[in-house]
C-alpha cells in the first residue's frame, strides 16, 4: 500500500462544478473533485446520492447542464460515450452489462475492437492483416484471462455464468481496452466475502501492475476503507467530503449522512 501511494501523480480527470438535473430532480449540484493518476478513488454515499449519475456524466451518457470535465488536459462538458472510450475511459456496470449471447472470449475480444485496424476488405477475406490482428489481440486477451483466472470459462456463453464470474468477465472486458481510467460501478455488489476478497485483490493488482487509475463506487465500507487511496462522499447530489479514508471516517457530515442526526 505504501509503495503505490508514492506513484500517485497529477490529476488525470478533473470534475468542475458539475450540475445535472432531470426535470425537478437535481441529481448533482456543483460537484467538483479530481481523480489523480494511478490512484484508487472511491465514491461513496447513500442510495440516490448521485454516484452512478456522476459516472454517467464522466462517461458521456448524461450531459450536465453546468460545469466541465477535464480529462488529460482536455476540457469538455458533453460527449458521446464512444468518444470517452476512445480517449481511454473504461467502465463496468452495477447490474452486469455483458454481451449475453457471446462467449467469454468474444466479450473480452470486443473490448479490443477499438484497437483493431484492418479494413472491411481484409475482414471479408479473414486473411492477411485481419488474421494477424486477430491472433495478436487474442494473445493480449489470453493474458487478461490468465490475470483474472478465468481460463476455464473461455468458451462459455456469459449468460450461463454465475453472477460473480460475470462481474469478473466484465472487468476483463474493461481491462482489454487498456484504459487509463477505469470506472467501476459497485464491482462487489451481491458477492460473498470470498468473492469480495478476490475482486479487491484484482482491483489492487490492476492498479499496481498496469498503473491504471481507478474510480469505484462501493457500498461495503470495509472494502472502501481498505483499498482506496482517497474517498469522495456524495449525498443528495452534493459533495460532503473528499480525502483519505481516515479523514472521511472522522468527518461529522459523513457520519450524520450515514447514521442520521437526532431530531431536536
Amino acid at each position: 500500500m505504501t509503495e503505490h501511494s508514492k506513484k500517485i501523480g497529477d490529476p488525470l480527470l478533473k470534475v468542475d462544478n458539475i450540475s445535472l438535473g432531470f426535470g425537478g430532480v437535481q441529481a448533482l449540484s456543483n460537484i467538483s473533485f479530481e481523480i489523480r493518476e494511478h490512484e484508487i478513488l472511491a465514491i461513496i454515499g447513500p442510495n440516490g446520492a448521485g454516484k452512478t449519475s456522476m459516472l454517467n456524466v464522466i462517461n458521456g451518457f448524461y450531459h450536465p447542464q453546468q460545469g466541465t470535465i477535464t480529462f488529460r488536459g482536455e476540457v469538455r462538458r458533453a460527449m458521446r460515450p464512444y468518444i470517452a472510450a476512445r480517449q481511454g475511459i473504461a467502465r463496468t456496470f452495477q447490474n452486469v452489462a455483458l454481451f449475453k449471447g457471446m462467449s467469454t472470449l468474444d466479450n473480452i475480444m470486443t473490448g479490443r475492437n477499438l484497437r483493431m485496424q484492418s479494413n472491411f476488405f481484409w475482414q471479408i477475406l479473414h486473411y492477411g492483416p485481419a488474421r494477424r490482428e486477430e491472433i495478436e489481440h487474442r494473445r493480449r486477451v489470453e493474458e487478461i484471462i490468465d490475470f483474472l483466472e478465468i481460463q476455464a470459462i473461455r468458451r462459455v456463453p456469459v449468460g450461463k455464468l454465475p453472477y460473480g464470474l460475470q462481474k469478473r468477465v466484465e472487468l476483463a472486458r474493461a481491462l482489454a481496452m487498456e484504459p487509463e481510467l477505469l470506472l467501476l460501478d459497485e464491482p462487489m455488489a451481491g458477492m460473498n466475502v470470498e468473492e469480495k476478497e478476490d475482486m479487491s485483490r484484482f482491483i489492487l493488482d490492476v492498479n499496481e501492475q498496469f498503473g491504471t487509475t481507478i474510480a469505484l463506487i462501493e457500498h461495503d465500507m470495509g472494502v472502501v476503507m481498505d483499498i482506496s487511496d482517497r474517498v469522495v462522499v456524495l449525498d443528495y447530489g452534493r459533495k460532503l467530503a473528499d480525502g483519505t479514508p481516515d479523514e472521511v471516517r472522522g468527518n461529522q457530515g459523513v457520519i450524520d449522512a450515514y447514521l442520521g442526526v437526532p431530531h431536536e
Binding site: P81, Y82, R91, A97, G101, M102, Q123, H126, A130, E142
Partner: protein
C-alpha cells in the same frame, strides 16, 4: 464414436480460431462440398433445379442476409421482400441497359444498389427498436412494392408490368433464359451461395461480427467500449441488404426468369425469410441454410408423399401441407426456440460423449 475431438490438440491461436476446429467437421463439410459441386450437377434435371435446388439456394442466401441483420445485429426487419425486389429490378434494369455486362457484375451491382436502399430504410433503427422498427421496415416493404408497380420505368414500360430476363452467358455457358441447362443454373447459383457464405462467416467471426453482436446484446455497454451505434447498425443494414439484393437478383435472373413484383416479392416473402432465420437459428450461418432447407424442402416432401405416396388429390394435399407446416413450425419453436442450428449443436455435443454420457 466417430465424432471425437480427443487427441486433436491445438498449439496456436490460429488453429484454435479456425472455422472448423474439429477434424470430423472438416471432413463433413468437404464431403458436402464435393457432392454439391461435383456429384449433383451430373444427375440434376429440370424439376430438381427449378423446384428444389434453386429455391433452396436463393432463399438460403436471403436468409443469410437477414440473419446478419436480425440474428447478429439484433435489428428486426420485415422488408426482405421489398429488398429482394430492389435486387431483382436493379438486375433487370442493368442487364437491359447494358446488355454486354457480365451477369456476375450485374448481380453484384444490384446488391450494391440494394445495400444503398437498405441503409436509407435502416436510418430509423438509430431511434427506434424492436416492434417499432419492424413496423418501420414493413413500410419499406409496402413502399418498394408500390414503387415497382407504379413507376413504369422500372419495368421498361412493359404492358403486363412483368420483368423478363433475357438470355445471358457466362464463360460461354448460357445461364439465364428457358434454354439454359439446369446444371449450369444450379452451379451458378451455388457458387454465389458458397462464396457469400464464406464471406458471411469471415465477417461474423471477426471485429465486425463482434461489433454487431455487441449492439445486439447490450447497446449501452457496446457504446462504452467504443462501438459506434450508427456505424454498426447501418453497416449491418448495408451488408444484409446486399445479400438480400443478390438473392433477389438470382431469384429473378436464374431461377424464375420472369417476375411480377406483387406476386414474387410480396409481404409473404418477408415473413417466409424471417421464419427461415428464426427456425434455422438466429445468429448462425449454418442456421440460415437449415432454415431455408426446412421451409423450402419440407413442403415439397410433404406434397410428394401425400400425392405420390398416399394418392390424395393435389388440392387437398395443398391444404394439408400448409396446415402441417404450421404445426411443424410451432412444434419446433416449442422444442427448440433457438432453432435447428442449436439442435445440431446439441446433437454434436451429445455425440462427443456417446455412448458414455457421464
Amino acid at each position: 464414436m466417430l465424432y471425437r475431438e480427443a487427441g486433436q490438440f491445438k498449439t496456436s491461436y490460429e488453429a484454435d480460431q479456425a472455422v472448423f476446429p474439429i477434424r470430423q467437421d472438416r471432413w463433413v463439410i468437404a464431403v458436402v462440398l464435393i457432392v454439391a459441386l461435383a456429384a449433383v450437377p451430373l444427375v440434376i434435371e429440370d424439376y430438381w433445379t427449378n423446384a428444389v435446388m434453386l429455391p433452396f439456394l436463393v432463399y438460403a442466401l436471403a436468409a443469410l442476409g437477414l440473419n446478419i441483420l436480425v440474428g447478429y445485429c439484433g435489428q428486426i426487419s420485415l422488408g426482405t421482400g421489398g429488398f429482394m425486389a430492389v435486387g431483382a429490378f436493379a438486375a433487370f434494369k442493368l442487364t437491359t441497359m447494358f446488355p454486354g455486362m457480365n451477369l456476375i457484375a450485374v448481380l453484384l451491382l444490384s446488391g450494391l444498389v440494394t445495400a444503398g436502399v437498405g441503409v436509407v430504410f435502416g436510418l430509423p433503427s438509430l431511434r427506434i427498436k424492436g416492434f417499432y422498427l419492424a413496423v418501420a421496415t414493413l413500410a419499406a416493404q409496402f413502399f418498394l412494392v408500390w414503387l415497382f408497380n407504379k413507376v413504369e420505368w422500372f419495368y421498361n414500360y412493359n404492358a403486363t408490368g412483368q420483368i423478363t430476363m433475357p438470355p445471358r452467358e457466362i464463360f460461354g455457358f448460357l445461364v439465364t433464359g428457358p434454354a439454359a441447362k439446369p446444371a449450369v443454373k444450379y452451379l451458378f447459383a451455388l457458387s454465389f451461395v458458397i462464396v457469400f457464405a464464406v464471406v458471411a462467416k469471415n465477417l461474423v467471426r471477426g471485429r465486425i461480427g463482434r461489433m454487431w453482436m455487441s449492439i445486439r446484446d447490450m447497446d449501452i455497454a457496446a457504446e462504452l467500449i467504443g462501438v459506434r451505434p450508427l456505424h454498426s447498425k447501418l453497416s449491418a443494414f448495408a451488408v444484409s441488404s446486399f445479400y438480400i439484393g443478390v438473392a433477389g437478383g438470382l431469384l429473378f435472373t436464374v431461377w424464375l426468369g420472369a417476375a411480377e413484383v406483387t406476386e414474387a416479392f410480396g409481404i409473404d416473402k418477408s415473413f417466409l425469410v424471417l421464419f427461415m432465420v428464426i427456425i434455422g437459428g438466429l445468429g448462425s450461418v449454418l442456421g440460415s441454410f437449415l432454415g431455408a432447407g426446412f421451409l423450402v424442402l419440407m413442403p415439397i416432401l410433404l406434397k410428394n408423399f401425400m400425392v405420390g405416396g398416399l394418392g390424395i388429390s393435389p388440392v387437398v394435399a395443398k391444404h394439408v401441407e400448409i396446415t402441417t407446416m404450421g404445426v411443424l413450425i410451432i412444434l419446433f419453436l416449442i422444442v427448440e426456440p433457438h432453432g435447428l442450428a442449436r439442435l445440431w449443436q446439441i446433437t454434436k455435443e451429445k455425440l462427443r460423449l456417446w455412448p458414455f454420457p457421464y
